[in-house]
């Protein structure tokens, strides 16, 4: 990436190029504006008074900034416990994926065992299968296990994703065989080699996997919607969605809804802005095949 940037910067630009560049920057500015406007609208609206929200012509910047929608929201929705549910599930899913996907990724990259090919085939196949396909039997199974409304039901089905295996296998392959062989000759066990030698070497990949798994879990909707009946067990998106389609709760107040969306989006957006480098680099490496 740096190559291209310095490439254009080092050469003196002639006039046509400069206008071209201005045009491109202007287009990008316009694009970014379109991308961020809905968020701005959300934030501003969540602080507008009900009167400003319904005013014509539209009041863009609140006349008076108010927290009344947040008050009302927290009164109607137990955001604290939904936040807790979402966090707990996302952390657990991420932890499991880091360990389980790395294990199989390591095995597929560095161990020679009978059945390796079919296992890898399974992983590739699993990449293509949408989760919606399994909704019905999963519900029946989880019901029969008595796990409806439990954290286990929200965590286990996502505890080892095929994508993670695929990613880790790629990175594990890059570890020099000599390193592992040397350890083996020294009599190290396979688990020791995996945990103490291989894992530290793929930390960047682990960071990527952690970020994406966490995000995916945090934003997951359909399965948590089906697997929880008790509103106390709802994750944030489920709580927000069922709230947003219920007129007896919102009373048609867009302010309350924007406050809700704001609270759901805010933590992720903040984390993203702080860690943005890892996000975009991560998805790039992950996408490389």
């Amino acid at each position: 990436m740096t190559a291209q940037v310095s490439d254009t910067a080092s050469r003196p630009l002639h006039k046509g190029e400069r206008t071209g560049r201005r045009l491109r920057v202007a287009t990008l500015w316009a694009g970014v504006l379109v991308m961020t406007t809905p968020f701005l609208w959300m934030v501003l609206s969540s602080f507008k008074s009900e009167r400003d929200l319904g005013a014509t012509p539209t009041v863009w910047i609140p006349d008076e900034w108010t927290l009344v929608h947040f008050d009302k929201l927290l009164d109607l929705l137990d955001m604290g416990s939904h936040f807790f549910n979402s966090t707990l599930v996302a952390v657990a899913v991420t932890g499991c994926n880091l360990v389980f996907c790395s294990m199989l990724g390591y095995a597929l990259a560095k161990l020679n065992f009978a059945g390796k090919r079919p296992v890898f085939g399974l992983v590739l196949g699993a990449l293509m299968v949408p989760h919606n396909l399994m909704l019905m039997p999963m519900f029946v199974m989880v019901s029969k296990m008595g796990l409806i409304d439990s954290y286990a039901a929200l965590i286990l089905p996502f505890a080892a994703g095929a994508f993670g295996v695929f990613l880790m296998r790629q990175f594990m392959s890059a570890i020099p065989d000599e390193l592992l062989e040397a350890a083996r000759i020294d009599g190290a066990g396979e688990w020791f080699i995996f945990w103490r030698i291989a894992m530290p070497l793929v930390k960047p990949a682990l960071a990527t996997l952690a970020i994406f798994t966490f995000l995916q879990s945090w934003n997951n909707f359909l399965w948590p919607l089906v697997a929880t009946n008790d509103p106390d067990k709802y994750t944030l998106p489920v709580a927000l969605a069922t709230f947003a389609i219920d007129p007896t709760k919102t009373n048609g107040s867009n302010g309350v809804l924007m406050a809700g969306a704001f609270l759901v989006v805010l933590p992720v957006l903040l984390v993203f802005i702080v860690l943005q480098r890892y996000f975009t680099q991560g998805i790039a490496t992950a996408g490389l095949k």
Partner: protein, 416 residues
Amino acid sequence: MQPIPRIAAATAATTALALLLTGCGSGGSEQASAKDKQTLTVWGMGEEGKHLAKLGKEFNEKHSNITVKVTPVGWDVVHQKLTSAVAAGELPDMAQMGSTMMGEFIELQALEPVDEKTFDKGDYFPAAWNSGVKDGKAYGVPWYVDTRALYYRTDLAEKAGVDEPPATWDDQRKLAKAYKDEAKAEWGTYHQPANVGTWQTWLPFLYSAGGQLLDKSGKPALDSPESVKALEEYAHYFDKGLSRKSSPPDYDVVKDFGSGDAPMFISGPWIVNNIKDQQPQLKGKYATAPLPADESSTSWVGGASLVTFEDSEHKAAAKEFQKFLTETEQQGRWYEMAKSLPAKKAAWDEPALKNAPEQLDAFEEQLKTAKTVPPLAKWEEFASKIDEGVARISQKGESPEKAAAWMQKATQGLVD
């Protein structure tokens, strides 16, 4: 097989069976008595769920050993959540259950029969009590009843040159048109055009036209001339641009009623409360009236019962709480809190009801002639077909005859 292994096998099988039975059965041995320290979990719905939590706290002050935990569930998802909970066997101890849902949950054998010694059938309105009866057994204690009537803005009506509530369908059409043309309202009325619960607004038209949901033999009667007529009347408002053809999933008509965008609509008594809370400026500017009549002015009886789930281990405590909620005096208070009409006859003599705001009169009046919704095990599905049938005339622009025929066909397999 050797004797000993055979014994072992038999024992194992018996144990497994016993475990299975205790696991799946009603768990009679684990029943807590009303005196034990316990938490009673209750699901409440919609507006009522909000108020129920308050009553739970009051109950706890009297019965310090029973903590009531009320979980409010939205009406839009409650059917799905309750059926799913039944399927999964993960139910609360008790719930408020809409009268139209009773049939299904009785059929699913999820409900505990009511102790008819504690709750006397004769104390309640027959229509309310009977919504929870199957094969002579009652499964729900009626909590409140409701029905639908007309809300309209009197100030805007005046502006439009109308000074009387619409008495007939014709009057209603005229008023809607006057609101739009004369009072410059955005819409003339709000008839729910589509999505979950549309049937609630349309059913009064069907009943007022003299129609029925089911004919005498218990088959759907949705392609009857009366049904077509009701659809035609409903369609009129969309065809003439007097009612919006779509509304967002969380559309709250009270907001548009307050702003004057939708100066007329049909709904239940709890709206009186919502208007007071959310649109206080409307005081004295709106009124309610019995439904405009065609053949008659006939609404339907809804409401909710209190049910105990068969799997509950706190049935005694649930009974105590239900007794508390249905005391005559409490019913009067409940009316004050939620503007829900008491299901218990004696409660109508309570001061709270005697001094009710005049807006409630229309509902009292309407309730006298209102008809029930037949208890159907597949009511939700049946209702969803009506919702879709109405959407066909409001949004697809299909003819009432075609939509009626469609509804008839779609519901045929849903009655047995």
